[in-house]
């Protein structure tokens, strides 16, 4: 009986190694969880409309995706990395070191970052300065730099409701956090004059001052969410005073539970983000390993399909899901057709 099982095991093992030689015929994609829903929508439509298998799309974060892309060339490495922030020089260096020389940068559109709270609570009209004042570790009070003393929103701005300050911001591993830090906190820091005070404290070092700006308070008022937006939503559900940071598409899928705050007087929507009026937005990218283009069947078609007007255009399903379509999409389509590799970072 046992001998029989050992034979079966041996057969399975030999089948395993015979099969390993079979070429991969599906596209493998990994990266940002913000781009993931868009990529899976495209992958699904691609599988339905082309004779190629549906690509496999993995999450894991922008950084993880770019790292996997740069691991090397070959069938057991991925073909495309989704990224919600631009590739870094360090990634490009790793890529070069591992023989991944040509990478295509494809910008698929823009994503808005919105501030939303419980639908039944008071509404807010923020400016970046409000957020900095509410969340920064150190703020200027009466001309002096002190630890953040504010507890309630109406202490920040008398127009706001008398509500405890409680913010759910994305954890530092998220690409969203980078944008939040840069476009809200640092912008607000500059606006309310804290940057100047910090600069004076750091002997005029602007970089160090900016870094100090991004220090959020640690007394429980600002809560880092390491999970995804569903976790942020659950936190707001449990604590109605909370205000969360979301991607526009997530908010648009949950408009019955959340109300969105304006930023500098602009309500976030695909239109205001496309026009650039709404300040907190970022481009979304994916990076293609050019060496795989003629090796993995359907890769070129997938890339072209992704940026086609049918998908990424203003009336396509991606825009319907919350992606702000890129006004320069035609340029991207052209570049993709010519397989133009990206130049050095500027």
């Amino acid at each position: 009986m046992n001998a029989l099982k050992i034979t079966i095991a041996a057969l399975a093992a030999s089948a395993a190694f015979a099969g390993a030689a079979v070429a991969r015929d599906n596209i493998q994609i990994k990266g940002s969880s913000t781009v993931l829903p868009y990529a899976s929508i495209v992958a699904e439509a691609f599988g339905e409309n082309f004779d190629f298998p549906t690509p496999v799309v993995e999450g894991g974060g922008s950084g993880a995706g770019r790292k996997a892309l740069c691991e090397g060339v070959g069938e057991n490495t991925i073909d495309i990395a989704n990224s919600s922030s631009r590739i870094k020089q360090s990634d490009i260096d790793t890529c070069k070191a591992n023989g991944v020389n040509e990478i295509q940068e494809v910008r698929i559109g823009y994503d808005g970052i919105v501030f939303a709270s419980d639908i039944n609570g008071p509404s807010f009209a923020f400016t970046p300065a409000d957020w900095h004042k509410a969340l920064a570790a150190k703020v200027v009070v009466d001309g002096k730099l002190v630890d953040n003393p504010y507890k309630k929103w109406n202490e920040i701005n008398s127009d706001f409701a008398d509500q405890d300050i409680l913010a759910f911001v994305p954890g530092t591993k998220h690409g969203t956090r980078e944008v939040f830090d840069e476009k809200v906190i640092v912008a607000g820091c500059e606006e309310d004059g804290t940057l100047e005070a910090l600069k004076a404290e750091n002997n005029g070092d602007e970089k160090a001052a900016e870094k100090a700006c991004m220090q959020l308070r640690t007394d429980g008022v600002s809560v880092d969410i390491d999970g995804d937006y569903t976790e942020t939503l659950a936190r707001i559900d449990a604590n109605k005073n909370g205000i969360g940071v979301f991607g526009l598409s997530f908010y648009e899928n949950n408009t019955d539970k959340l109300q969105v705050a304006t930023m500098s007087g602009v309500t976030p929507s695909t239109e205001t983000i496309a026009s650039g009026e709404y300040p907190v937005s970022r481009p979304l990218y994916f990076y293609v390993k050019n060496a795989h283009l003629d090796v993995i069947p359907g890769l070129q078609e997938y890339v072209e399909f992704f940026v086609s007007d049918d998908m990424a255009g203003p009336n396509g399903p991606l825009a319907a899901y919350g992606l702000v379509s890129d006004p320069e999409l035609a340029k991207t389509q052209e570049a993709v057709k010519n397989r133009t590799p990206m130049g050095p970072l500027n």
Partner: protein
């Protein structure tokens, strides 16, 4: 003499009332301590039971509705002018019409159906009316047309999926009030859905697709199913069973019956016990380094998942098997040896069959553990959006696939609230599999176990 013993015993016995029926101070204390301990035990059990009931109640209340699905029956005219412009019924040319080209057909069909039933809703245009039907529907139509080319030009009845929000309306997730605020559905659409339901066009049926359909993207939660995940999990369990049972049993027989007792075997024993306690994510890291990066096996494939889970399950199986072998009394071995059997014969003819129920129980429990494992799969690329069914084994072992616990994890991260229901539904399916496996283990133990 009698006096002396009387005083002695009087000194020894505590000075009490003297009746056995009246409890003294210390006995009362002891009894009270026992009663306290019992109560604490009962409270502990109650907490456990309550937690289980709470968990099951929340999963069942969220997830049971995923086994029901709302469908809309429409007759769709497969317009030759739209699907086959040249009119020569060339499959290659018809395949050029993408799913976007099928959208107008559905819009037209809904419009016709509403007119035929005399339904009209104020403030609802044809496009919004067609949004009642899932975005999966154009793909369904296209697949049908491509496999039935001669149906072009005729009118075919279809039972199409209703969109996630409409489905949610009949499951209590969406209400008129929430639709007012919801960007993806309007109260007018819900009114139309109610009218359609009255006319018998919109129906609810058991959701078989939930078990067979592949995953779907965020825009069509109503189409998402567990097909690929169930297949992937089954493949992995097959690999785990086929690899870990013989290896585990062979290793334990050698260690238990043949190996000399020395430092080396002691060391191996300690290591096996330690391995059983290693966090599963460590096996994932190992799998990524060894099977994918070094051996070059494909990402997201059940073979890698199976190998990683085999490593994880082996210690469990070895420990269970050794315990089962140890439980077979030495007299059986001695008797076999006494009548002239070789050591190997005594083991394979007598000890192993007697230990089999214990071994199988351990194996099934190990498999159940492996079935519910997510962490190691995270690192080998199985936590992914996979829509293609893996092929039949053995090639299928190398195709990308998902797994049940991974699918749960995936769905809880999606933006659309309809995926919460799907995730809970997937948990129920996973739980049913686990309960079944554990039941088999219990039955095996009860029926075949022998006690000496």
């Amino acid at each position: 003499m009698t006096d002396a013993t009387a005083t002695l015993s009087n000194n020894n016995v505590r000075q009490v009332g003297g009746s056995l029926l009246v409890l003294d101070e210390r006995t009362k204390k002891r009894n009270a301590a026992e009663a306290r301990f019992r109560r604490m035990g009962q409270i502990a059990v109650m907490i456990g039971v309550l937690a289980l009931i709470g968990l099951l109640a929340s999963i069942l209340s969220n997830g049971l509705s995923s086994f029901q699905q709302t469908y809309i029956a429409v007759d769709i005219h497969l317009d030759a002018a739209k699907l086959d412009k040249s009119g020569n019924r060339n499959p290659d040319e018809i395949a050029k019409v993408t799913t976007f080209g099928y959208m107008p057909l559905i819009q037209e069909a809904i419009k016709k159906k509403m007119a035929a039933e005399g339904i009209s809703i104020d403030g609802l245009n044809a496009k919004a009316a067609a949004e009642l039907i899932s975005k999966e529907a154009p793909a369904t139509l296209r697949n049908y047309v491509l496999s039935h080319i001669d149906a072009i030009g005729t009118t075919v009845p279809f039972k199409l999926l209703a969109s996630g929000r409409i489905d949610g309306y009949y499951k209590g997730r969406v209400t008129m009030a929430s639709a007012e605020l919801d960007k993806n559905v309007s109260p007018e659409q819900l009114k139309l859905a109610d009218e359609l339901k009255q006319a018998g066009i919109l129906t609810t049926a058991f959701n078989w697709d939930f078990f067979t359909a592949p995953d779907a993207s965020d825009t069509r939660p109503e189409a998402a199913g567990l097909g690929v995940a169930i297949l992937g999990s089954a493949y992995m369990m097959l690999i785990v069973l086929v690899l870990s049972l013989p290896i585990g049993v062979a290793a334990s027989i050698y260690l238990e019956e043949f190996a000399p007792q020395n430092r080396l075997t002691d060391l191996i024993e300690v290591n096996i016990a330690n391995l059983a306690a290693v966090p599963s994510i460590v096996f994932g890291i190992l799998g990524l380094a060894v099977f994918i990066n070094y051996a070059g096996l494909p990402q997201s494939a059940p073979i890698v998942g199976g190998l990683v889970l085999t490593l994880m399950t082996l210690p469990t199986i070895i420990i269970a098997t050794r315990a089962a072998l140890k439980a077979v009394p030495p007299s059986i071995r001695d008797a076999a040896l006494g009548v002239g059997a070789s050591k190997m014969q005594s083991i394979f003819h007598h000890v192993l069959p007697l230990a089999m129920p214990g071994i199988l129980t351990g194996t099934i429990i190990g498999l159940a553990q492996a079935l519910g494992e997510t962490a190691p799969l995270l690192l080998i690329g199985m936590v992914a959006f996979v829509r293609e069914y893996p092929a039949a084994p053995p090639e299928g072992f190398f195709d990308p696939a998902s797994a049940l616990p991974v699918q749960v994890y995936n769905w809880t991260q999606r933006g659309d609230p309809a995926f919460v229901e799907r995730a809970s539904g997937a948990i129920i399916v996973l739980l049913v599999f686990l309960v079944m496996m554990n039941l088999i283990a219990i039955i095996l133990r009860r029926r075949f176990e022998r006690r000496w």
